[in-house]
Amino acid sequence: MGYLGGSVTDVYSFAVYYFFWVAIAVFAFGAVYRIAKMVLFWRRVVKAEPRNRGVGAWIIGLIRTFVDPIIFSIKTKPHDFLAGMVALHLVGVIPLIFLLAHHVAFFAYWFSPYKIIAETGLWIPLSVTTSTLTITSPIEVKFVDSIWGPLTVVLNGDVLAILAILGTAFKIGTKVMEQIHGLRHVRWSDYFSLGLLLFILLTGYMAARHSTGTVTMDVGTYRTVLGLHILGAEVLLMLLPFSKYWHIVFGYWYGKLHEWYDLRVQKGLV
């Protein structure tokens, strides 16, 4: 019997009915630990009189703080920008995690306000031909009628998953190359983190594409693949506070806002 009352009979039910809470607990513990550490290390200092450039400069400074590194990256490392920033972040993983119709349904099950994404039609369909949550049953194929309109041709789970897979594979390749070049910032744990992400993307894609009209997976295999996908995502959730993925939750936001305050507000850099 799983913690949610369902029977633990296979990987899928283990991931959904049992391991989910373990993952949430580890994530919560880790997040509290990381944030508490930051709070405990905070020290009161006397600050210099700030240079006053006006609120307009602060707002422009805030935008520049977030945008400048992106522009810099486009100019200096276009390949990395396309694979890392565009494929992996902007149009790949982030919309895939938070807006894919299947994920919206799953998240809304645990956190009902998340239904707003579905209700406003912001969720992204699995494919260009259907927005239904499963394609296991025989269904009528029709063009997706979504708020995204013609954009669904590219803004659908299949395309995003492929972009994210390409982006992740590129980043793994980059790490291998950097290691061959003897660069010291590559960690073995990077391969684990990126490998796990690739595993989640591949199993998710396989589960979503388990049937294309002819039976390619029996129900047992489907449940196993989907179970592995969910289990992988849960391991990732557990890993978030203890790995580079913490940037999604905290590091990125803290870092940029601190930089903005330090350079733009305090020092008045324009």
Binding site: M38, F41, V46, E49, T76, G182, R187, G251, K256, E259
Partner: protein, 472 residues
């Protein structure tokens, strides 16, 4: 000026400095102590810099030394500090060690790698503004790594000499230094045509002329005095230098000593009860006195700190300083410490536009300015500087290095600088400027040297010297 013989003070100074410097060996006990001190000084901001780097290396092309080798990218250099932090400061690092790149230096080679990282970083802050996560790698490299390098014996002897000269105020006892100071003051008096207003109490403006200002740009010292005088301000300056280039200890990562120096300087300045302190130096002196001083003192100073270019802007806007406008093809090089780390980016453009119709910005300016590659002590690491300082101190240049290994390191550093400076020179070339105006002695030296190296015929001037000549 004739070369002076070394005074007993200089001999004693060199002996004292060299006792703490050793470029060979692996002093495990010193390393442990230095590491413990570095970790005890962590705060939440440094914690973020150490813990949240994802290794994307987006910062790499921002660094002038990345163009020497990709192993000098900021992420690569700061990673050495992260190795140690993870091993000593995180539970997972202790448990998983190599999987997370968590390790401490184990050998002489590891310490050599650290010192190389420190002196391939100018702390220009370009990595800070190009990092997608707001991580200031320069602060980690020059701060934590610099402290570990110096405390385990690997500090450039010349900078360590400057540090002791400053903190013990030995510049007052070195005849060649005081000769330079007195000569500059004499020339300034001639230029102004009246006695200088030394050591006045309660003046509106206190021109903090440091020893290095008098040594590296005497024309700027005189130019600044002309401007203050012509604007009719109530101003003063110290009759003797208060510091060499404060706090020079920071250049070799000695934060505690740097803060001590700041306290001494504040006491000295406070005796004059000035309302404003005006700096000529647009290098690290500016952010230290303007932004770090309150942290070091635990209170805000009783006076405001501003750079001479900020004062020029104010005086021009108020109509107190009138300039004769020319057609000079002039540009402004933003010293990293004044601009990126100090926020003074708009004022120089305004001032130079008032001085010349031919003023143009560099293709990369302000927050995006290219570093000259000479900061962070690198500008002191060449034979020319060693020879010049040797002459002034009355010793041979060989006396200003601890060993052959240090000498080799200095030569290699100078070689790498010559590659790093090229990006800046190309930027100047693109601007079509014939005069580069700036405010940091190291930038001046680096750009002048770089332009000579790459065949660019330009003049490099300090803003106070340039403006001093444009006063109506």
């Amino acid at each position: 000026m004739e070369q002076m013989a070394p005074s007993p003070a200089v001999k004693q100074l060199l002996e004292e400095v060299k006792r703490n410097i050793s470029w060979e060996g692996f002093p495990a006990d010193k390393l442990e102590k230095a590491l413990a001190e570095a970790l005890s000084a962590l705060d939440s901001v440094k914690l973020h810099f150490l813990e949240n780097c994802v290794g994307c290396a987006a910062c790499a092309p921002a660094c002038p030394y990345y163009y020497v080798s990709e192993k000098y990218g900021p992420v690569e250099k700061a990673e050495l500090a992260r190795y140690m932090y993870r091993k000593e400061g995180t539970i997972l690092g202790k448990l998983l060690g190599p999987l997370l790149n968590a390790k401490k230096p184990q050998s002489e080679k590891d310490l050599d790698e650290i010192v190389e990282a420190v002196y391939r970083c100018t702390n220009c802050g370009a990595c800070y503004v190009s990092c997608p996560f707001g991580i200031d790698s320069g602060l980690i490299i020059k701060g934590i790594l610099g402290s570990i390098a110096t405390k385990t014996g690997r500090a450039p002897t010349l900078i360590a000499v400057f540090d002791v000269i400053e903190r013990k105020k030995l510049f007052l006892e070195i005849p060649s230094f005081m000769y330079i100071w007195n000569e500059v003051m004499k020339k300034a008096e001639q230029a102004l045509g009246k006695p200088l207003p030394f050591d006045k109490k309660g003046a509106e403006y206190f021109l903090l002329v440091n020893m290095a200002d008098a040594m590296f740009y005497p024309d700027a010292v005189i130019g600044a005095m002309r401007a203050l005088d012509r604007a009719g301000l109530d101003w003063t300056l110290p009759s003797k230098p208060l510091a060499f280039r404060p706090p020079i200890a920071a250049v070799i990562g000695l934060q505690k000593q740097a803060k001590e120096m700041i306290k001494i300087l504040d006491e000295d300045i406070s005796k004059y009860e000035p309302k404003n302190v005006v700096l000529l130096d647009g290098g690290f002196v500016y952010p230290w006195l303007r932004f770090q001083m309150p942290k070091a003192l635990g209170r805000r100073p009783s006076y405001r700190v501003l750079h001479i270019v900020e004062l020029f802007e104010k005086l021009i806007k108020e109509g107190k300083l009138k300039l004769r406008q020319t057609d000079d093809k002039v540009t402004w090089h933003d010293p990293c410490q004044l601009a990126r780390r100090g926020g003074v980016t708009e004022e120089p453009n305004f001032v130079l536009s008032a001085a010349s119709k031919g003023f143009r910005k560099l293709p990369h300016h302000g927050a995006e300015s290219y570093c000259c590659g000479g900061g962070g002590g690198i500008g002191c690491m060449n034979m020319e500087m060693l020879e010049q300082m040797g002459k002034l101190l009355g010793v041979s240049s060989k006396d200003l290095v601890a060993s052959d290994k240090e000498l080799e390191f200095i030569k290699k550093t100078a070689e790498h600088w010559s590659i790093a400076v090229k990006r800046k020179i190309d930027d100047v070339k693109k601007s079509g400027a014939e005069i580069v105006v700036t405010a940091c002695p190291v930038c001046m030296h680096s750009i002048a040297g770089g332009s000579q190296l790459y065949g660019l015929k330009i003049q490099v001037r300090h803003i106070a010297a340039y403006i001093g000549e444009h006063i109506e």
